[in-house]
Homo-oligomer: 350 residues x 2
């Protein structure tokens, strides 16, 4: 039975969403949750949720909270008894398999780096986001926002980490996931100095006999949803923009669909009938349906939830992190990056 | 009556789309079109279109064609009698007010730079794209792909050029269009070194008493479709990805809507009734409905159409370029950039 550490005080609705999410999660999966934060407030929420499964919960009191306005480094240095720090320490000490937080994402990143530390050979950890696609096969994008200014090795590693996340978590039927590098065109002459260097690194890594992924070269933004690749590697600046544009366009298109459905009596009549179908699409394109985003490249499973997370999103993140732990995800990611050790070494000495 | 030069040989379906587009255009607007390219083939197409309006057409023979595979610089140096070059020369010599081409976009950019030249103080020209939004107010994005690696002044100028394009062309009811700088978050600490420097420049420019735009600071990808800003400034790498993600997501969402409409008898019945409304949305989100993308920052109106353009797209581009010419767009853009001359000068000497 995996133990999951939950930062119960991080989100905008803490500790309500976190505790209710944890209660929902232990009813879905055979796990134990350690709730980190203000003991009294957590206990109150457990009572409110009528959580009778006492053997599945433990509370680890923490006297401090990292707020959304705290500078990440400052929070690490000065709030040594924060709910986030206590949760991270549980993973570092081997008392928990994963940490889930809806708190300050910069602080989650900083704590992951300083408390858990990077996997060997990993330059910088990245955030993985999963996009639904019409084909039903999820698309993995990395990095979604952890690193706005990157080096070529980071971009290449985001592709490889994403590929192994996809392979382990989504049990991709293709043995070797197809990794694309996001660019402004598919020709090799396109992209920037940065993407051209990353293109070279990913080509080398994929040519390795032991490589467990294929490199599909450059992909354009439109390919993300077309099922031609399983994984898209990009920097955190562009990745964040891709995620936000996706949210914005989905909303805009659905709004236009709805407006057009009001345009005639015939369409209005049809609109009533298709309403449930449209609601289903809205649910599908909303990223919080996926729970949280995984930070890859550190020595532990770290799930970052949106600050506004509802209990359902927190529950999904907890259940997913349990699945990641059982699948041995961290060991696989570590092996995937170490496999290409000579490549990273050669790049450092360029 | 404005004269529009059309590169009749550039697109994938040349000269058919170009000639049919020109014929459609002169039936919509009081213009004259000079078709540049192979005289025999253009004449054949005019016959096929039953174009009786001989006084609205002129053919300027060109013996060469710039292909999609030609390197832009090479094409400029070695194909001095290409249909693109002949069309550009007409604008340079004052014999035409605008040039429209569905050819090699890198070559169109190179010819614009070398034949027409940049407006005074403009670092690099950018490509403007217009996105439809649910509010009905168009959103202008610049640069959509002309410059993948940029300097801060370029980003700031893309914002200002976009603002004045919006003011002149869309007759924005707000006197001063709101310009946002695309970033991975709205806080001033977000973005890259590049965007932070551009943020500073746009803030200075907007603080000018004569500035005819407002600077809204950083905007996230989701804001593009929400009507909070009128113009979004970004580099050509990111701009291209925004455009392509928008296309991909629109397609994906509509596909999911359609799939969900097949999910139940009730929904299927409704689907039949809403079909025309959905088709309308598809037309709206398809960028070719807008015809072409304008290159801003050079001494002439240059419309870049997609290589796969249908006659309708070419016709729209021709009619739009006529409208731009009548509105005195180039003079306004030139004045808008020169107004902040001291700012560009100061940045150069940093």
């Amino acid at each position: 039975m995996n133990v999951i550490a939950v930062d119960a005080m991080g989100g905008d609705r803490a500790p309500r969403s976190e505790v209710a999410g944890a209660v929902a999660a232990i009813r879905q999966a055979p796990i134990k949750v350690i709730l980190c934060g203000d003991r009294d407030r957590i206990e109150q929420e457990l009572v409110r949720c009528e959580a009778a499964e006492a053997e599945h919960f433990e509370i680890r009191h923490a006297s401090q909270v990292v707020t959304m306005d705290d500078a990440p480094g400052q929070a690490f240095r000065h709030k040594k008894d924060s709910s986030l720090r206590v949760a991270m320490n549980l993973v570092k000490d081997g008392d928990a398999a994963a940490v889930v937080s809806a708190g300050n994402s910069g602080a989650i990143l900083a704590h992951s780096l300083f408390v858990l530390r990077r996997l060997s050979d990993v330059d910088r950890p990245g955030i993985v986001t999963v996009f639904p696609t019409p084909s039903g096969r999820p698309l993995v994008l990395c990095d979604m926002g952890a690193n706005v200014e990157v080096r070529p090795t980071m971009l290449a590693q985001f592709g490889i980490l994403g590929a192994h996340y996809n392979r382990i978590v989504h049990k991709n039927e293709r043995e070797r996931p197809r990794v694309g590098l996001l660019s402004n065109g598919t020709e090799a002459s396109k992209g920037t100095e940065l993407t051209r260097a990353a293109h070279r690194l990913l080509s080398s890594a994929a040519a390795d006999d032991d490589a467990q992924f294929e490199f599909a070269g450059y992909v354009e933004g439109s390919e993300i949803f077309r099922g031609t690749v399983d994984v898209v590697a990009t920097d955190g600046f562009t990745g964040n923009i891709v995620l936000k544009v996706t949210e914005g366009v989905s909303e805009a298109v659905l709004e236009m669909v709805k407006a057009n459905l009001e345009s005639s009596t015939r369409a209005k009549l049809g609109a009533k009938l298709v309403e449930p179908a449209l609601a289903e699409v809205v649910r599908n394109v909303h990223p919080s349906a996926f729970g949280g985003a995984l930070l890859v490249g550190v020595r532990g499973i770290v799930m970052i939830c949106h600050g506004k997370s509802e209990p359902t999103a927190v529950a999904n993140a907890i259940v997913e992190s349990d699945r990641f732990a059982s699948a041995g995800l961290i060991q696989s990611l570590a092996a995937a990056i170490e496999r290409h050790h000579s490549l990273w070494d050669a790049e450092k000495s360029r």
